[in-house]
């Protein structure tokens, strides 16, 4: 299927090495209709892309174009429409795989990252119950085995492991953070040991925006033969990510945070691992032979895709990837690093406001703050009155907040469509928060 339209002005695109700048970002914004709206009679300043991103016109058009021209059930039936739909759907998988440096058979579609991580843990659970036979034994867990996570994790990469530990009798341990929220890499080496079977950790903290040293953790895990699971939710949308270079066994991420629609996510897994794993959801579309007593399963990735799939969403995600590719992930990462630095520098000069997280750490364009004396809910409400949309609360990371000594926080998170003005609007509003609430006047 032809791409509907790429980023505006891509025809006269600069050579890829020209950094993304404010002028080009303003042009890109033209592709995002929603960013033109107002809230509370002021222009919207969207700084909540860490929760979900806005979508360019090409993504919306692609999904509609698919329904208007190609809609059919995939991998079922021999009519032309079904064949075309299947082709488009599988092209989307290939594109997504290429985007993260994987092979097409290594990309399993899921609804989102949460489902991807649950798929993984339930498959391990089934292996622990003896399903999948000899080949799946390497995923079987039991008493004496250890699952290691970190204190940085989003609940989506914590609770599925807690539950897997409960079901199998394995124990769950974690690499703690220090008072600033930096991962205690000095303790990691002691925590990874011969009992460690799985090391699951986030690439980028969704609260602090800090980038985790993946190579160091993978090296520790490899040394003891543990499986590595990376939560790529906050890295894949913002940084160039290559699963082979990172050398992780599994990675989960969500389409809606990377310009794609909701309802589509990915579990990446090394081919030989996916092929050895027992299925999680079972039913139609994932089998070869079925009798009244038992079933034989297809190979990965279809083994993990039971039932009618998220077809238009996968196709629209591919359009999102086209968009990101045309702008260039390296350029996006550099621009957001710039925005992140601008946020940090601005926040440092506002009295009574504290940016959470280790100072000077590598970060995406995310800044999370604590304003002592003003609850994040109130901070967010005040910012909203200025049109600034941020996330307040515990951001699905209660343990991390506890470690940082706060119950909740206020997070600004950027994407490729945010300008210096957006950052400045946020900083300007934050500077007025304490005055409005009569704190520390």
């Amino acid at each position: 299927m032809e791409t509907v339209t790429g980023p505006r002005g891509s025809a006269e695109a600069e050579p890829a090495l020209t950094p993304l700048d404010d002028t080009e970002v303003r042009r890109l914004r033209g592709d995002f209709t929603l960013l033109e709206r107002t809230v509370n009679s002021v222009p919207l300043v969207y700084l909540d892309s860490g929760a979900t991103s806005q979508k360019p016109q090409s993504v919306l058009d692609t999904e509609q174009h698919f329904y208007e021209n190609f809609n059919a059930a995939v991998h079922r039936g021999a009519h032309t429409l079904a064949v075309e739909a299947t082709e488009i759907y599988e092209e989307a998988r290939e594109k997504t795989a290429r985007f993260i440096g994987a092979g097409p058979d290594e990309v399993v579609w899921t609804s989102n990252a949460t489902e991807a991580l649950n798929l993984l843990t339930y498959s391990f659970s089934n292996a622990s119950a003896g399903r999948g036979g000899e080949a799946a034994r390497r995923f079987a867990l039991g008493p004496g085995d250890e699952i290691l996570v970190t204190e940085l994790e989003h609940h989506a990469n914590l609770i599925p492991w807690q539950e897997l530990a409960f079901r199998t009798g394995a124990s769950l341990k974690y690499i703690p953070v220090d008072a600033d929220g930096a991962l205690r890499m000095d303790l990691a080496a002691d925590l990874v040991g011969p009992r460690t079977r799985v090391l699951a950790f986030t690439h980028v903290s969704n609260v602090l925006g800090t980038v985790v040293d993946v190579a160091a953790l993978v090296e520790l895990a490899r040394a003891v033969g543990a499986l590595t699971v990376l939560d790529g939710c906050q890295s894949v949308p913002h940084l160039p990510v290559d699963v082979k270079a990172l050398d992780v066994d599994f990675m989960a991420f969500s389409g809606h945070k990377m310009l794609g629609p909701t309802g589509i996510g990915v579990l990446y897994g090394r081919r030989e691992l996916l092929d050895a794993m027992p299925p999680f959801l079972t039913g139609g579309s994932m089998i070869t032979t079925v009798t009244m007593e038992r079933a034989e399963f297809l190979e990965a990735p279809t083994r993990f895709e039971a039932g009618t799939q998220r077809i238009s969403q996968a196709v629209a995600l591919a359009a999102a990837i086209d968009y990101l590719d045309e702008v260039g992930m390296g350029r996006i990462a550099a621009w957001e690093e710039h925005l992140g630095r601008r946020l940090a520098a601005g926040l440092a000069s506002i009295p009574g406001v504290r940016q959470l997280g280790p100072a000077g750490a590598a970060r995406i364009g995310t800044a999370t703050i604590d304003v002592p004396g003003v609850h994040p809910h109130d901070v967010g409400q005040f910012l909203d009155s200025r049109g600034v949309a941020v996330r307040v609360g515990h951001h699905c990371a209660q343990p991390l907040h506890r470690a940082l000594g706060v119950t909740a926080s206020t997070r600004a998170s950027t994407y490729l469509y945010n300008t210096d003005d957006d950052v400045d609007a946020f900083l300007g509003a934050v500077a007025d928060v304490r005055g409005f609430f009569g704190v520390g006047a």
């Binding site: 509370n40 994040p376 409400q381 009155s385 609360g393 515990h394 119950t407 009569g438």
Partner: protein, 154 residues
């Protein structure tokens, strides 16, 4: 007044700092009492609230909690309002307050009856914040029910 100033009226900001009734108090021997814990998982606001009655009238409400200015101020306002009321009249005030909160600005608060709580009328135009304002009031309702059960059993 802007919507934001309607939401955060000075009375509310004052109460959010004053926090009447903050700190759980041991009930007097012989008094019926009940306690509940309310939690808003969306933003983490939480309150543990104790209601103490002498059978007919509310003798004391005390609480501890953590949350936004709206939730903390509404607990403070409730403590003032409830002192000395009969249990029926407190339940009536909770119902009245709830009706105003859920009205999206359509129902005017009766200042005579609700006192400082009338200042929360502006919250009703912010549906996401209604839960914050209601937190302590729902806790009081449930603590009262718990006190009744305890009394009935005693």
């Amino acid at each position: 007044m802007s919507d934001l100033e309607q939401l955060y009226q000075q009375i509310i900001l004052d109460h959010s700092k004053r926090r009447n009734g903050e700190g759980l108090v041991e009930p007097e021997p012989g008094h019926a009492w009940g306690e509940t814990h309310q939690h808003n998982p969306v933003c983490g606001d939480q309150i543990r609230l104790r209601v103490e009655t002498d059978g007919g009238a509310i003798r004391r409400i005390s609480w501890e909690g953590d949350g936004c200015s709206i939730s903390m101020a509404s607990a403070s306002v409730l403590v003032d309002l409830a002192a000395g009321e009969s249990r029926e009249s407190l339940l009536g005030l909770v119902a009245q307050f709830r009706a105003v909160m859920r009205s999206r600005g359509a129902i005017e608060a009766d200042e005579e009856a609700l006192g400082d709580a009338a200042a929360f009328a502006g919250v009703s135009r912010f549906p996401a914040r209604v839960k914050c304002a209601m937190l302590a009031w729902v806790a009081a309702e449930q603590a009262l029910a718990a006190a009744d059960t305890a009394a009935g059993q005693g």
